[in-house]
């Protein structure tokens, strides 16, 4: 049902008609699809731009994100500095472009780690017998008692600050929900016909787990994977806004926003640029994520 969730990018443009899934569409057809889902196309374009920013930042700006010049401080957006300059006279556009990579890396890494730990716990709960199920169930109950942001702060307090621990903190906050989803799905899959067939064929327990149960139990998580990446990027920006990100000179969206807040009346661009960038990124990922989820459920949106 949800192979659509893993479909190549070209298919996202077609909302309902699955018979058109062969993406060798004529230009006119592509044109029509773009007109029908402009939000989806804009979202994809923005994400492609971000990936390029992250991979080759120097292709987009020749200015050094760390080069301070007190004489150039607080310049409003103009031809020389498209997004203006910050309190130390650094070019804001350059800082935003160079800060893209860290946001994307933190979002992706946290999601993948949260996925790995969550599915391991979920599988253990579903397949490890009643005692394992009860123990993990109560453990997850306990973790669910904490709002995500607070759980992340607890983890940072114990493990210390820094980007790696920031990623771990966001990842751990995702674990309870992921584990529950995988557990519920694994319980269904375990009783399915194909697992029974594999057992009858005499496959080893490990082979059944690895080849049959794991890929199918992960499906509900994979469908919401893009949405989780969006949430992680927002969470990491929030934590770096609070001062738990990379230390000051590093260009980080949340940190730029936190500093800009102090100069809000005089230099609105210091806040507007990171606020817009974070929001547009989360929104773009949400639009694509919702489309994937809807397609996997056979809906248009």
């Amino acid at each position: 049902m949800s192979t659509a969730a893993l479909a190549p990018a070209g298919q996202f443009f077609s909302p309902i008609e699955p018979e058109e899934d062969v993406v060798l569409a004529a230009p006119a057809q592509v044109h029509r699809r773009i007109r029908r889902r402009p939000a989806l196309v804009l979202a994809a374009a923005w994400l492609v731009l971000l990936v390029l920013f992250a991979l080759v930042p120097d292709a987009f700006t020749r200015l050094d994100p760390l080069a301070a010049d007190a004489g150039q401080a607080f310049l409003a957006p103009a031809a020389d500095h498209w997004l203006g300059t910050d309190e130390n006279g650094r070019d804001l556009l350059s800082r935003m472009i160079h800060g893209t990579g860290i946001s994307l890396v933190v979002g992706l890494a946290a999601t993948l780690i949260g996925l790995a730990i969550g599915s391991a716990i979920g599988l253990l709960a579903a397949l490890g017998g009643r005692i394992a199920d009860h123990l993990t169930g109560r453990l997850l109950d306990a973790l669910m008692a904490f709002p995500d942001q607070l759980l992340a702060l607890v983890i940072i307090t114990f493990f210390g600050q820094g980007t790696t621990n920031l990623i771990l903190a966001i990842a751990f906050a995702m674990v309870p929900r992921n584990a529950r989803l995988v557990r519920a799905q694994a319980l269904l899959v375990r009783r399915s016909g194909y697992v029974e067939a594999a057992q009858t064929l005499g496959l080893s327990r490990f082979a059944i787990l690895w080849r049959h149960i794991l890929p199918n139990a992960l499906k509900p998580l994979l469908i919401i994977l893009p949405l989780s990446v969006g949430n992680s990027i927002a969470a990491s920006a929030g934590l770096s806004f609070l001062g738990f990100g990379a230390p000051p000179p590093a260009p980080e969206w949340g940190a730029i926003l936190a500093v800009g807040r102090n100069y809000l009346p005089e230099a609105w661009w210091l806040v507007a640029a990171p606020a817009l960038a974070i929001t547009l990124t989360v929104l773009a990922i949400t639009v694509i994520g919702r489309t994937l989820r809807a397609r996997s459920e056979g809906r248009a949106w």
Binding site: A39, R138, L139, D141, A142, A145, F146, P147, D148, Q149, L150, L153, V154, I156, T157, F158, F159, G160, G230, A234, A237, G238, F241, L242, G243, F244, G254, L257, R261, L264, P265, W268, V271, A275, I278, T279, V282, L283, T286, V287, R290, W301
Partner: protein, 310 residues
Amino acid sequence: MTLLRTLATRLASGVLVLWIVATLTFGAMHATAGDPAIAILGGPDALPTQAVVEEVRREYGLNDPLPVQYARYLGRLLSGDLGESYRLRTPVTSAILEQLGSTVVLGGIAGVLALAIALGLALVGAGRGPRVGGAITAVEVVITAVPNFVIGVGLMFLLAFQLRLVPVAGEQGWASLVLPVLTLAIPSSIVMAQVLRSELDEVLEQPFILTARARGLGEAGVRVLHALRHAVIPLLTLAGYVFGFLLGGTVITETLFARRGIGRLMVDSALTSDIPMVIGISLFIALSYVLVTLIVDLIAAAVDPRARLA
């Protein structure tokens, strides 16, 4: 009788959750926090002599076997003693209680406002066909994509700096509550409105709605008097989540608007690695979450007989 049994099972699982949280924090404290004796003396920078460290170890019972320390830890927690803050040098319990009022006021007002907004949005927007429904969904998706600190800074710029209607930050008077309350209420109201609206969409298709309409009841009457009652029950089960959502939101809101409160206390404690305070707040939050879900479960069981079986 069933209500009593529900109460007993929920109470037992709540106590279990608290015990696990206490055990986890004890384990984390001993696995990662370094030497507690040195932390008590003000960290490694304080350069305490070996004799002083030994003295503190004896005094705090840090030389005892781990199970003994664990039992003593649980005993202290049961008597409401959460230890002493490294940073503030005051008991954690009194520090939390001092900050609690501010958070309760902020979260309470924001919660009521969010509920009112959600009810309004859902009652007006439900059952309007795919076109209006799609437009509302699109607006909801856009608003949920805006992180709460962006909402907060945006409101601050607009209402405080441009229009000069309210103070930028601080806690002087009711006007200073406007920005933090809105920042906290807007995202939560959207979460609730989404659930309420999809529930109302379904309820409005039910036969008893048709009956009500056939009796000549107006659209507003149908929605408020008949549909809403049924749509509110799922909202009740969402209450624990909304509680956590509001509480988590205070972390950003209280810091951004320079208010006192639990969220701000948590940020300051995490920034300074004040482990007893962070653990204390964690246990306190777990306790309040358990209590809130317990109360919500009981209300749900009282309102909806089907929930008693769960």
